[in-house]
């Protein structure tokens, strides 16, 4: 059996809304091996996004509420700067609402993780290569003519392609996609999924959460998130 690239074990997460504790995940576990495309399917409020945030170290499980391992190393053992570096280098996030920075151009948005990850000195040394890489990615996504445009000048599909380019800026091994087509029409959404499929074929590991079965069907494997747990019984290999 392959060693998992990313593994969540018995995750518990509770949010506090006012005076009320709202448990979202209770005992969710997931193994993702390198090069796999896993779709996490679940109804609205089932904890899909929370699971993704925990996997991406944007949020932490409850105290004693399970662990996440990346390449065998527990994320809770990372010190603060290592956690930042993990988000910068090891995972890339794609969100349903793109979340591009409106003040930056398309090219600058696509370079953002690279900009975050380098010092000023390194930037001046490597900026040509960084820009070239972001530009190549955007051109391969059909956005070569939009490099100097602002996000407000793009369509929804174009924005999501920029968001994917941003997520891939530092060539992370894992892409965490939160309803990446949820805000797009079916045709545009299919284009985005094609794009993810291309990258997956090139070796990218993808964890995608969705509530749409037809979209989940594009993944190698679909797991259902029900009542805050991954329903192993429903886990199915699609391909």
């Amino acid at each position: 059996m392959n060693e998992p690239l990313l593994e969540a074990r018995d995750l518990h997460k509770t949010y506090r809304l006012g005076r009320v504790d709202v448990p979202v995940l209770h005992g969710a576990s997931l193994r993702v091996v390198a090069g796999e495309w896993v779709a996490v399917l679940g109804a609205s409020g089932s904890g899909k996004s929370t699971l993704l945030h925990l996997l991406g170290n944007l949020d932490q499980p409850d105290r004693g509420g399970g662990t996440i391992h990346f390449r065998g190393r527990p994320l809770d053992a990372l010190v603060r700067w290592e956690g930042d570096r993990y988000r910068n280098r090891s995972v890339g996030f794609v969100f349903q609402f793109y979340h591009l920075l409106p003040e930056l151009t398309v090219l600058e948005n696509a370079m953002l993780p690279a900009l975050v990850g380098v010092t000023r000195l390194r930037w001046w040394r490597e900026r040509a290569a960084i820009m070239r890489r972001a530009q190549d990615t955007l051109e391969s996504f059909g956005l070569g003519h939009r490099l100097r445009h602002r996000p407000s000048e793009l369509s929804g599909g174009e924005r999501q392609r920029v968001a994917i380019a941003r997520a891939l800026a530092n060539s992370p091994p894992v892409l965490l996609a939160d309803e990446p087509t949820g805000n797009l029409d079916a045709r545009t959404g299919a284009g985005i999924l094609d794009l993810l499929a291309d990258r997956h074929r090139a070796g990218l590991t993808i964890v995608m959460v969705t509530h749409d079965l037809t979209i989940a069907a594009r993944a190698d494997r679909v797991v259902h998130l029900v009542d805050g747990r991954v329903d192993e019984a429903s886990a199915s290999a699609v391909s």
Partner: protein, 566 residues
């Protein structure tokens, strides 16, 4: 690397930070203007105090220092002294030549009786003369209504040069009854002693017309100085008078001097104050005693040699005076008419000590103003804090995105601190520019405020009507905001227009900076570099401090909540 990119972009692509920059700039400009004017005022007071009085002053009012000439010689022989000027000062009534008829105006004046040559070496007196030949350089600085332009045409530069020459000796040559030219004592009046000299809008002075032969331009007129000498042997003091021909007028810029002081020849002052040399007679026999009371001067103004500070010169002057006094007594072998002991009526003071009663309150006022106006830094910090709080609130989702791509808390904090720093720097630079513009042109602005041009009122009135029309047009669909905005602008412009017309046609012009109150005829218009630098640094520091709380708050934003933030 992302922090400079984002802070620069936030700065350029939004209106709110520009409001913060404008707020900081206004605060900086306000402090710079107030402190610069106060500092300039203080500097003018100091300059005037030192220029008009010398560095060290020996004074013995009323009775005067006997044999002052030999004391002056001793002092001038000192390497630390560059010039010494004796003078006799007193107060008197000056009978002015105006108005026509016999009922002439009287002005209360302080007369300084001087030797013009030594007085000029100590105070640069000739440099303060107002009626001088109009050179090309001077002509460029004169206002269009300056009376010196008229004089250049009417009497010519040669005659004006004669006025300077006569002021340099305080004497004029006039024909006597036999037609022979004889010297007559002259006087130089402070420019505002004559109430016929009226200040013009451009700051120049112009004598009023009305005299049958033209204007009441003082040179060539005769005045009579009357005083009551307190030093007299008579039971009841008798008034002394001297007729003086006005040979010129001077302007120090210190209004209270220009308004009250006149310069007359030393010997005339000594005579009317009974301080001239006199052969003593025996009060019983009425026979000459063979003793001569030496001439006296009530003050000796001493200018230090270059590089010598007044405080360093003072003890040397005191020692010289003491040595002079001892020599005086030893030579005469008795203490009759001896110079007084120091500290008993006779004092040696630096110019600063002499002016302390005047300078110290001004210094305290400046520090008080600086302290009070420094509170404006808190306003700066508060403004930046409020604006940044709004910006951080608005940028919550962006902060979540940045955290998701690996930005650290410190990095997020640094974006907003840098942003605050940039706003502080830009605001400080803009404030310096605005402050400099206003300070440099403060007299012109003051003139325009006191006598605003009518075209400005018309322009503001038209702009007010235009704003009202646009507001009505934009709100014809029932929108309230254009009506409120346009109405406010129209009211403000209309109010300003009404103010202009009120000042011009009802009040007839107002004088905000009254030279009679503020001592100087012009408002100081030099920037205080220390105030500029300290204010700019303060504004930057407080802008960063103001940004600190929102920046820390931004760094603490939970990225998950931020990404869900709508």
């Amino acid at each position: 690397m992302y922090a400079p990119l984002l802070s620069n972009r936030y700065l350029r692509s939004r209106v709110i930070p520009l409001i913060a920059v404008a707020a900081v700039a206004l605060c900086v400009a306000l402090v710079i203007i107030v402190v610069s004017v106060m500092s300039g005022f203080l500097e003018m007071v100091r300059q005037a105090g030192r220029q008009l009085n010398g560095d060290v002053i020996i004074s013995y009012p009323i009775n005067g220092i006997p044999g002052y000439e030999r004391l002056a010689e001793r002092l001038e022989a000192m390497p630390e002294v560059s010039a010494v000027a004796p003078l006799v000062d007193g107060w008197g009534l000056l009978r002015m030549p105006y108005p026509d008829g016999d009922e002439k105006a009287m002005e209360t004046v302080q007369f300084w009786a001087v030797e013009p040559e030594s007085f000029d070496r100590v105070t640069g007196f000739l440099g303060t003369l107002h009626w001088t030949p109009v050179t090309d350089g001077l002509r460029r600085t004169l206002g269009s209504r300056d009376f010196r332009r008229d004089l250049e045409e009417s009497i010519g530069n040669d005659e004006l040069a004669t006025l300077v020459d006569e002021a340099a000796v305080l004497r004029t040559m006039e024909p006597d009854r036999a037609g022979a030219l004889v010297p007559r004592p002259g006087t130089v009046l402070g420019l505002h002693v004559s109430k016929a000299n009226r200040r013009q809008e451009d700051g120049s002075v112009r004598p009023v017309t009305g005299h049958r032969s033209g204007s009441w331009w003082m040179p060539r007129f005769e005045v009579i100085l009357s005083t009551l000498p307190p030093r007299t042997n008579l039971a009841s003091p008798q008034a002394e008078n001297v007729r003086l021909r006005v040979v010129n007028e001077f302007r120090t810029g210190l209004y209270m001097i220009d308004e009250t002081r006149i310069i007359i020849p030393l010997e005339e002052g000594q005579r009317i104050m009974h301080l001239d040399a006199q052969a003593l007679v025996d009060p019983v026999t009425g026979q000459p005693t063979g003793l001569t009371e030496p001439k006296r001067a009530t003050q000796l103004l001493i200018r230090a040699a270059p590089g010598i500070h007044a405080d360093a010169l003072k003890p040397l002057v005191e020692a010289t005076y003491d040595a002079y006094r001892e020599a005086f007594i030893a030579e005469r072998n008795n203490a009759a008419f001896a110079p007084p002991t120091r500290g008993v009526g006779l004092v040696v003071q630096t110019w600063r000590e002499q002016q302390a009663r005047f300078i110290e309150p001004v210094e305290k006022e400046r520090e008080l103003m600086r302290t009070l106006f420094s509170l404006i830094y808190l306003v700066t910090a508060g403004l930046v804090l409020a604006i940044f709080w709004a910006i951080v609130h608005e940028k919550t989702r962006d902060i979540g995105v940045l955290r998701s791509v690996g930005a650290s808390r410190a990095g997020i904090c640094w974006i907003f601190l840098r942003y605050g720093f940039q706003i502080g720097v830009l605001g400080a630079i803009a404030g310096l520019g605005l402050g400099a513009l206003i300070v440099r042109n403060i007299n012109a602005i003051h003139g325009a405020m006191g006598h605003p041009p009518i075209w400005l009122g018309v322009f503001l009135g038209i702009a007010a009507i235009g704003s009202a029309v646009i507001a009505a047009w934009r709100s014809r669909g029932g929108a309230l905001l254009p009506l409120v905005l346009g109405g406010t602008v129209a009211l403000a412009l209309g109010g300003l227009a009404a103010g202009v017309f009120w000042v011009r046609f009802v009040v007839g012009g107002i004088q905000i900076w009254d030279p009679a109150v503020y001592y100087f005829s012009t408002i100081p218009n030099q920037l205080d570099p220390v105030a500029c630098i300290s204010t700019m640094i303060g504004a930057v520091i407080f802008s960063v401090l103001g940004a600190f709380f929102p920046a820390a708050s931004a760094a603490d934003i939970d990225p998950v909540r931020a990404l869900r933030y709508e």
